[in-house]
């Protein structure tokens, strides 16, 4: 058992958001329901190299590795994943026949339950991906709701995640109709993943004053529009050779970002290709 920080040093330990003593081990601050965790960070990408330890920087691998100890970081990682992929769950719930107004309550209630329980500690090894885990949990949750559990009503308790549902219904209405809820979930998941990768790539280019480059060359991510490099060169006041290099760099960076996004949701890097294949199939006709 580690010694208390307060006893071992003359200094004053405090929660980063509140002046309250607590152990320097990775525990949440309980001051006024503060939800901050004084933890290390996890990065937005895959740590490649030898050894499973190298992979422990992705969110899902952190969740899976929690075991019986130090669930704080795992809960934070799980919350971050849920925050990123709430919309596929919303689409799943709507396809199950839940009305728009109720779907928001169901989604928040579901996440509240996921984050409050430690069910993620009991995820079976074969369910290696976060997508699969979330879908199974969602199916169970809806089944329990049908069996009589009340969904958390809007305004009751505190929302588990900060989700903006304002455009969810509109977005759902604009999507292609996929009757099977599981298929709808996977399709929405694939689109959410692509959106995250593209938005991140766009912001990266804009942050380095290359927004115009991104806007013009973006179609090349899927093979281009047939306009040709000469057309791009004219628009960007450059030459074809430079455009060719810029396109290559854009594609390479996009690929890196997308694979890193996928890596966040799998437990092992060997699953990335399989996840891409599954999502590709989900987007099929």
């Amino acid at each position: 058992m580690r010694r208390s920080f307060a006893r071992s040093t003359p200094g004053r330990a405090r929660c980063l958001g509140h002046s309250r003593r607590f152990s320097p081990t990775l525990r949440p601050c309980k001051s006024n329901g503060c939800r901050e965790f004084r933890t290390g960070s996890y990065h937005g990408g895959v740590e490649t190299g030898s050894g499973a330890d190298q992979f422990l920087t992705t969110r899902w691998s952190i969740v899976r590795a929690a075991g019986g100890q130090d669930k704080t970081l795992a809960r934070a990682a799980l919350a971050s994943l849920c925050q990123s992929y709430w919309y596929p769950l919303y689409a799943f719930v709507r396809r199950k026949g839940v009305a728009a107004q109720d779907a928001e309550d169901v989604v928040q209630g579901f996440f509240a339950q996921v984050l409050a329980n430690d069910n993620f500690l009991r995820v079976a090894p074969e369910k290696g991906r976060f997508r699969s885990y979330l879908l199974v949990c969602a199916q169970n949750h809806l089944a329990n709701l049908r069996d009589g559990e009340k969904a958390q009503k809007r305004g009751e308790g505190r929302a588990a995640l900060d989700i903006d549902f304002s455009s969810a219904d509109t977005r759902f209405g604009l999507e292609a109709t996929v009757e099977d809820p599981n298929r709808a979930f996977e399709r929405a998941w694939a689109l959410a993943l692509l959106e995250r990768a593209l938005v991140g790539l766009e912001q990266e280019y804009r942050a380095s004053d290359r927004g115009a480059l991104f806007d013009v060359l973006k179609p090349e991510l899927t093979g281009g529009t047939g306009a040709g490099y000469a057309s791009y060169a004219a628009r960007l006041d450059s030459n074809e050779a430079a455009i060719k290099v810029a396109v290559h760099r854009l594609r390479k960076r996009y690929r890196e970002r997308l694979r890193a996004e996928i890596a966040q949701t799998v437990a092992d890097e060997s699953e990335i290709e399989a996840e891409i294949r599954d999502l590709f199939a989900a987007l099929g006709p």
């Binding site: 040093t9 200094g11 330990a13 980063l16 320097p24 901050e36 933890t39 290390g40 960070s41 996890y42 990065h43 990408g45 895959v46 740590e47 490649t48 190299g49 590795a65 130090d70 604009l174 292609a176 694939a190 689109l191 692509l194 959106e195 593209l198 991140g200 912001q203 990266e204 380095s208 004053d209 115009a212 480059l213 973006k218 179609p219 899927t222 093979g223 060169a233 960007l236 006041d237 450059s238 430079a242 060719k244 290099v245 810029a246 290559h248 760099r249 594609r251 390479k252 996009y254 690929r255 890196e256 970002r257 997308l258 694979r259 890193a260 890097e269 990335i272 290709e273 590709f280 987007l283």
Partner: protein
């Protein structure tokens, strides 16, 4: 929903999905090994297979008549660095030539001019000074201060950084960061390779703001053989990946936290990492300092590099104060005399004030010498380890032990033979 479809695969497209691009084609582009046909001849290749080539000294000399180019020092992701002498001043400088494919990017010239001018105004003892910048022929270049020393990566590999030296290094880095942040310049690529340490113990930060000029993004040196997955950029703050447009100076503080952890423990803070005091014998108060700099929320980190410096200095000085006193008696604090109006005559200092000023000066010199000697010793140890310093050839430890053992055996045999011969 629109009726547009992808010309390649026929998938229905929607304006509000994947920014109007075909989602199936986007996924297909990310799967499988990257096609070699996709690589133009001059583009940067997967790391480890080919690095951009650097121009030779003979090729560059014609473009830099005022410089005498001496040697190629390093080739990195942004460009190549050469040691040179400014013939008019006789001053040794470093010439950095940016890689051709970086400089050829559309819009680069404007970005370069805009950012380089700001970078050249940075003048701080902890920042490598930019003497000149511009473009000549096909080359974009910087002429910079030449730093004779090693970088932190070499020092970490050589395991030559004691904890006390690590604290001093971090404080110097904080000073330089605060100076640049006050002028609106964010480094964005703080890592051990970009932090140089002179033999005198002075820290110099390299490539301030350059990553924005070249549009470079930090990359991990770790890549799998079959997949070019984005390795974790170890020093990149989470917001640099997730919200690039919201990056500010606090990303540098995060990166410094990673460097700080690595200096103390020799390891990177990956995943569920242990606080530094669990890995090495250091003041446990440093745990909170390091963990706070590594907070993934920028608002929860130290908001200024100077705050971090103050905390580290407080811990460092209080640790010295708790140690058995081996120092001279404490220096009496003196209040500097307030500036007098020019028309008044300045009275000469009293003997007591002169003595106190001398003692204070000597204490500062001792402290500076102590700091420099700690870091300087670490630099010299690193240089010996990397072979930079030419010194007498040293045998490895086990070899010395073997030689001593056999020497003793031979001496024993000689003694026995002499005994029996008499």
């Amino acid at each position: 929903m629109t009726s547009l479809s992808c010309p390649r695969c026929g998938t229905a497209l929607a304006e509000n999905q994947a920014q109007g691009l075909c989602p199936r084609c986007l996924l297909e582009a990310a799967g499988g090994p990257q096609s070699q046909a996709d690589l133009p001849a001059s583009a940067d290749a997967p790391q480890g297979s080919r690095r951009p080539s650097a121009p030779t000294i003979e090729q560059l000399a014609v473009f830099f008549p005022s410089l005498q180019l001496e040697s190629l020092i390093a080739v990195g992701g942004m460009g190549a660095v050469y040691r040179a002498t400014q013939t008019s001043l006789g001053r040794t400088v470093a010439l950095k030539i940016l890689h051709g494919e970086i400089a050829s990017e559309p819009g680069f010239a404007e970005r370069f001019q805009r950012e380089a001018r700001t970078l050249a105004t940075l003048s701080h003892p902890g920042i490598v000074t930019v003497h000149d910048f511009g473009s000549t022929g096909p080359h974009f270049y910087f002429v910079m201060e030449f730093v004779d020393g090693v970088n932190l990566r070499q020092m970490i590999r050589a395991k030559s950084v004691p904890s006390a030296a690590a604290l001093e290094l971090v404080m110097q880095i904080c000073d330089a960061l605060q100076y640049a942040h006050d002028r609106g310049v964010v480094h964005r690529d703080i890592k051990p390779e970009n932090i140089l340490v002179e033999r005198s113990g002075r820290v110099k930060i390299l490539d301030f703001g350059l990553s924005k000029v070249v549009g470079a993004q930090p990359k991990s040196p770790l890549l799998t053989r079959t997949h070019q997955v984005m390795g974790t950029p170890h020093y990149m703050a989470p917001e640099q990946w997730e919200k690039p447009l919201e990056v500010d100076h606090r990303a540098d503080i995060y990166a410094l936290g990673v460097v700080f952890y690595e200096l103390l423990t020799g390891e990177l803070p990956l995943g569920r990492f242990a606080p530094p005091s669990r890995k090495v014998l250091i003041d446990v108060r440093l745990d909170e300092v390091v963990l706070r700099t590594l907070d993934k929320e920028p608002r929860l980190r130290y908001q200024q590099a100077s705050e971090l410096r103050s905390e580290v200095e407080h811990i460092s000085s209080s640790a010295v104060a708790e140690a058995p006193p081996a120092q001279p008696p404490p220096i009496p604090s003196i209040q500097p005399a307030p500036p007098l109006p020019p028309e008044r005559e300045v009275p000469p200092p009293t003997p007591g004030q002169r003595r106190a000023a001398r003692l204070l000066q000597r204490a500062r010199e001792r402290q500076a010498a102590s700091r420099e000697s700690r870091i300087g010793a670490a630099v010299r140890k690193t240089e010996t380890a990397v072979g930079t310093l030419g010194g007498p050839e040293r045998l490895p430890g086990p070899m010395i032990g073997l030689i001593v053992y056999f020497g003793m055996c031979m001496a024993l045999i000689v003694v026995v033979l002499l005994f029996y011969s008499f």
